[in-house]
Symmetry: C2
Subunit: 426 residues, 2 copies
């Protein structure tokens, strides 16, 4: 049965619908739920997949005879760098395998551009009057809060299914030398699930920029986090940049946080030879070396990149049903009502939900009162400001499947109730 779009209902019909929905919502609150869809965290069953890590490594030397229990080795174990290189489709020589956090490596790059400038900077960014970053929206909240903390202005562009809006980006970077950088989550983007196409990536790597030291922070957090058989291959950012004559433009990041243990995995950075040397030179003043025991632990656990790929199949088996449950719950109540659209991601950690303009905050509020925690409305936008107040990021991996089903049925009620409240009052 096709439902009627809520926008075509009469005032009386809306009032009647509102009464029904309020009853549904009252019932929902009576369930006294305590569910959390806020953060992209692996579920306990996913973490269990890597339990063998806790008994590794079996030895304490790597293949080159380095005692991983002692100091040194700033760029990480070669075996670990090879695994990342294979997964990211790049050369091991371009990779630095680091500590437990790719976010920290991104933060290092931005602060070092501020304090020292890059190899191609006229001066450190902190000596510029203004520094701006292009931010595709919706995007990853921690990217934006990092920039805000560091005093970097954010200008937004639209995120499409194939990546950032290239025309908008080009217009921003062409003439303004204060636009120094840009964020991209190229594969299964947070939160939209978009995959940056090779065409879009090629244009971004080749486009003229007024700033000679323009950086694209290519946060490939979900490179191997497929949810379907269609295993998307990430665009070759480093290769495209090199052939375009802009080898230093992209800096790539990845980690095993959502592959093994979140916060106890291994992170990586990859870049041009010049950028990598620059990064290691700075790092040498800040650290003696990464946790190589944990790197060897991961190397023994996976064996090689194919070991990672096989492991990701197990994650998919656990979480794909949760994503299906989100779609099912939203579809069964909202399809045809013309008040919401949502992503059907083929990878990554999020479902991106757009509700009726001006109602996202209300949906989050209603859900909260019913015991369902959602990421604050607007958090996928710089300074938390969603100009249309319509975007909500859903993170279904951490709760159990049953919890996702219950929570999402509740969210769907809240989405419809907020829409009818608004339509009935206007």
């Amino acid at each position: 049965m096709t439902k009627t779009a809520l926008t075509s209902l009469s005032a009386d019909q809306l009032a009647e619908r509102l009464t029904d929905l309020r009853a549904d919502y009252t019932w929902l609150k009576e369930q006294e739920l305590k569910l959390d869809l806020t953060r992209g965290k692996p579920g306990a069953d996913q973490l269990d997949l890597s339990e063998a890590l806790l008994r590794l490594p079996t030895g304490h030397s790597n293949r080159t005879g380095t005692d991983v229990r002692n100091y040194g080795g700033l760029e990480g174990l070669p075996e670990m760098r090879e695994i990342f290189a294979d997964l990211l489709g790049i050369d091991p020589g371009q990779v630095v395998a680091g500590g437990n956090s790719s976010l920290s490596m991104m933060y290092q790059v931005v602060t070092w551009m501020l304090l020292k400038g890059g190899p191609d900077s006229p001066r450190p960014w902190s000596q510029e009057e203004t520094v701006k970053f292009v931010c595709p929206v919706p995007g990853y909240d921690r990217h934006f809060t990092m920039l805000a903390e560091l005093g970097i202005e954010m200008v937004t562009v639209d995120m499409h299914a194939d990546g950032p809006d290239v025309a908008q980006v080009k217009a921003l970077v062409a003439d303004d030398p204060s636009v120094k950088g840009m964020w991209i989550v190229p594969t299964y983007a947070n939160p939209t699930g978009a995959v940056c196409s090779t065409e879009v990536a090629a244009e971004l790597m080749a486009m003229p920029t007024a700033a000679p030291d323009f950086r694209i922070l290519w946060d490939n957090a979900y490179a191997v986090h497929h949810l379907t058989d269609q295993e998307t291959k990430s665009a070759d950012a480093l290769g495209l940049a090199a052939v375009s004559g802009n080898p230093n433009r992209p800096i790539m990041f990845a980690s095993t946080s959502k592959i093994t243990f979140a916060g106890a995995g291994v992170a990586a950075l990859a870049a041009s030879a010049e950028n990598k040397a620059w990064y290691l030179q700075r790092l040498n003043f800040a650290a003696i070396g990464p946790d190589k025991v944990n790197q060897l632990r991961h190397v023994e656990f996976f064996g090689d990149a194919d070991g990672v790929r096989a492991h990701m199949q197990k994650h998919r088996a656990l979480i794909a049903p949760k994503f299906a449950a989100v779609d099912q719950a939203l579809s069964s109540r909202l399809t045809g009502l013309d008040i919401a659209t949502w992503s059907k991601p083929t990878g990554g950690y999020f479902v991106d939900l757009d509700v009726l303009d001006g109602t996202a905050s209300r949906v989050v509020e209603l859900a909260k009162e019913a015991g369902i925690a959602l990421t604050p409305a607007g958090s996928a936008f710089p300074h938390g400001n969603d100009p249309r107040d319509r975007n909500i990021r859903l993170a279904p991996t951490f709760p159990t499947l049953a919890e996702v089903e219950t929570a999402m049925a509740g969210v769907a009620v809240c989405v419809e109730l907020a829409a009818v409240e608004k339509l009935a009052s206007s």
Copy 2:
């Protein structure tokens, strides 16, 4: 038999001595040694003491039920913070347990003072015309290279057996608001082995400073690294600062790098409530949380602070003979010659050797040609500049005892040869 001071020898006697020493040195080179006394690294036998860590943790939740395999917990596991607090004589509430590197935590503090300023800063340090640090010398080379990298000027004061020269420090900080901070390794200092007394610490924490945001970076890397039964207790920097009305002055650092695995241990920062909140607020933009699996691994391994203390006894048993061998080798050749003095540390990782003025570089060069790698002369001074060219840092923990004996006998030859070369040519 008491030897004759070389300085009292006649020209002929010196020439004769030079001939003998050149023969000794030729013999030394023929041994084709390949020994390294450069870095304060634990020996493989010390690392073996912690081998059980590789099979830990047995569980994956801490006592409060946190799944250590997942994200979060920026200030670290409470159990880990309690162990550090007990060892450092402070309150667990003052401690942040972090990643694998206390050096990285120091670097964060300095960069955040530059980029953001502290809770008591008139403005970020990067907006000051000049920022200076007081550097006791000889000191830790990585402290100095970090400041140089970040554009901070260094002014030196003398390091005595009971800590930095307080009168010199007071004179530097009293009227010059650009003097923003100071390094101290308070316990078994790198490289002199000095222990900062409570009296000196009290004066440093209480002294008037022109800068309202003056920081003492209290790098207590060797707090529990005793070499004798006389187990020195570190001065209570945080307590002394608080009673002096300067609670935000000290920031304390420590790590298990030279307790368990170097580079795969757990680091900690401790500070006033205001400083700690400031640190965590900044950290929140740069990281999601430390490696809690590794923290739980350490908590299970030690049990409590007494477990750490018992573990340090095992280290002492392994390395105290190496320190004795250094002293023995230097004494047997050099005592009475009046060309060298050296420390007899009661803890820590180094022996501090002062040779005849103007010969340290030559000693290092001679040793290198004989296959004995020493830390570059001057490395314990800002910009590597030892004004008297006399200081050499010896790090005897990494080689075996036999290697230390061989290497140090060779170093003693080089020290005497360089001295005689100089005296004979003047």
